[in-house]
Subunit: 334 residues, 2 copies
DNA sequence: CTGAAAGCGCTTACAG
DNA sequence: CTGAAAGCGCTTACAG
């Protein structure tokens, strides 16, 4: 009934605990016959190495840390992301340790505390920005991590991101191709990594199509549903007939704004968002948006992290393309 | 630079490591002067006990396990819930270990594996149902846990739930009071703990108001947005002018169904959901729904678990009332 | 290829 | 009230 230990296995198999350890850890120099004796015993006993005991001499914990984001940043579907991370980590024998800064603690202190407690082998980060202090901190201390977010500022960093510029290029091209004359952009204030990239994509598509950028409508606002609503009047007054938004939150706001003015989203004004949140399917007509390939992001992140942990090269930063999901908010013919 | 150990502290403070350990663990029999010497050293060194080293002799890990739900069950806003769990756990020095069954592994095996690896001190469960095998399994093995979900089937179990019957009572009363004549119920097939409770609430409110239950419209369906849409015609044909739904997903479906028939939700038919998902605020008019007090649920769960871990009585099962959030889908006067 | 032994950083009786 | 010592369950050189 009690949890079997390495001793139990060694007794049953008639070998030393060192040999059991060698088998468990896949060391090469073990006879086939010894190996199978040990494996039988392990199987019979249902043995699994105790994590704490393993961690102590080896200095590896089998744990990967993830800081619970504040919930303020809505640009990641936490649910799906975490799910994927947990599953991919599980596939290579790692579990996920969740933590959050305690009241009065800075973000960095939270990471440091986890580290000092001997908590994890490495971290998965998400939502990083320019000059991210956590990235800097971990890099300095040579703590393994992989970031969801373009960390190309730092040569050594392992990162994966979804290509926001490509996303807004796709969105804007789609709007232009469907015959829209005056395609506006609603973004966040300049200076955020994610926001600036997405703006760049809109710009590129507009220029490529020969549109006049200088006289196009560009609104830079904080993220928010109500903010989206409040922008609608202004967009209509400027003669805008399509708007590419930096986020679904803003896009859904504009859709609601249109509806409150008794206009139909997709007719008077086409709207595209970014993130493909579930609410986008639940409004009428559906919101066209950019879907982030979360499963790929997670598997690439975990892959990079596990390579670092094995002392290998994590590989280059990776930019994954988002996928345009077309729904009613852009598909009603002009 | 290297992580300080208990030895470093003991040297700096001029005491034995046993004394440092006693101070760290708040043992009573330590002189004030000794204590403060040790505390100074701890502070100076930034010492934190290594979790693995602590876990090994003490048999406690400082970790609390949570199984990543499948994502199939939409009745819990995972994001908020986990957030709250992590924060409340952090406040009492516990961190959260996330795990998921690997492919081919049953749920029970996943729990068992975490346990065998010496993974956690206890579990937080969510989304439990009648005769839940995991609850039974943990109870048999006397593994500490606290469940989000009514586990009153099992006398010893620690649980917290949101009162679904009360929720649907509130919803149905609200519909009746606002003058609706024919209040339908859309629920899941009988036999789920959560679904049955919510049905009971509708029933009670209807009977209390003297409504004829036998001739009322009751639809039992699987959860789903499209399913909600497909039900709308039938509801209208039955002369239903209000519908209390077991979930926001179904409620949002009905709202979309109404809109596709060019009807206005809240006018021709009032709609109430359950969960208060964010999409409910983003549709026009907003969806009236029942908000679950996640922060309270989390704090009560963690509180119960920590009491069990300290060998105390966890306290009785707790039923928390949801809060009716009234929006456009029911507030347009008849 | 296998095993005896040291050691990882703690906690916990037990002496003193 | 404090400290020396054993031990938690592993891994890792190192002999043999």
């Amino acid at each position: 009934m009690a949890r079997p230990t390495i001793k139990d296995v060694s007794k049953l198999a008639g070998v030393s605990i060192a040999t059991v350890s060698n088998v468990v850890n896949g060391h090469p120099n073990v006879t086939d016959s010894t190996r199978s004796k040990v494996e039988d015993a392990i199987h019979k006993l249902g043995y699994q190495a105790n994590r704490a005991a393993r961690s102590l001499p080896a200095g590896q914990t089998g744990l990967l840390g993830y800081r619970m984001p504040d919930g303020k940043r809505l640009n990641v579907s936490l649910d799906t992301f975490l799910h994927q991370i947990v599953e991919h980590a599980g596939a290579i024998g790692l579990e996920v340790l969740l933590f959050a800064p305690r009241p009065g603690q800075t973000e960095q202190e939270a990471y440091s505390e986890v580290l000092i407690r001997g908590g994890v082998d490495g971290f998965v980060l998400s939502g990083i920005d320019y000059h991210d202090p956590v990235v800097k901190y971990l890099l300095e201390r040579k703590v393994p991590f992989a970031a969801f977010g373009r960390a190309d500022e730092y040569p050594g960093a392992a990162w994966v991101d979804v290509d926001g510029a490509e996303g807004l290029r796709l969105a804007t091209e789609h709007l232009i191709e469907s015959g829209r004359k005056n395609v506006a952009f609603i973004g966040w204030p300049a200076g955020s990594l994610t926001g600036d990239e997405r703006y760049r994509g809109w710009q590129q598509a507009m220029l490529a199509a020969g549109r006049d950028i200088d006289n196009a409508t560009v609104l830079r606002v904080l993220d928010g549903y109500e903010i989206g609503i409040s922008l609608t009047r202004q967009l209509l007054d400027s003669g805008v007939d399509a708007v590419a938004c930096v986020s679904d939150t803003l896009a859904l706001g504009v859709m609601a704004g249109l509806r409150r003015l008794d206009l139909v989203p997709g007719e008077e004004m086409a709207v595209v968002g970014f993130d493909n949140v579930s609410a986008g399917e639940l409004v009428e007509p559906g919101l066209t948006s950019l879907d982030q390939p979360m499963a790929d992001v997670a598997s690439e992140l975990v892959g990079r992290l596990s390579r670092i942990l094995r002392g290998e090269n994590p590989g280059q930063g990776l930019l994954l393309p988002p996928r345009l999901v077309v729904r009613g908010s852009t598909s009603i013919p002009v």
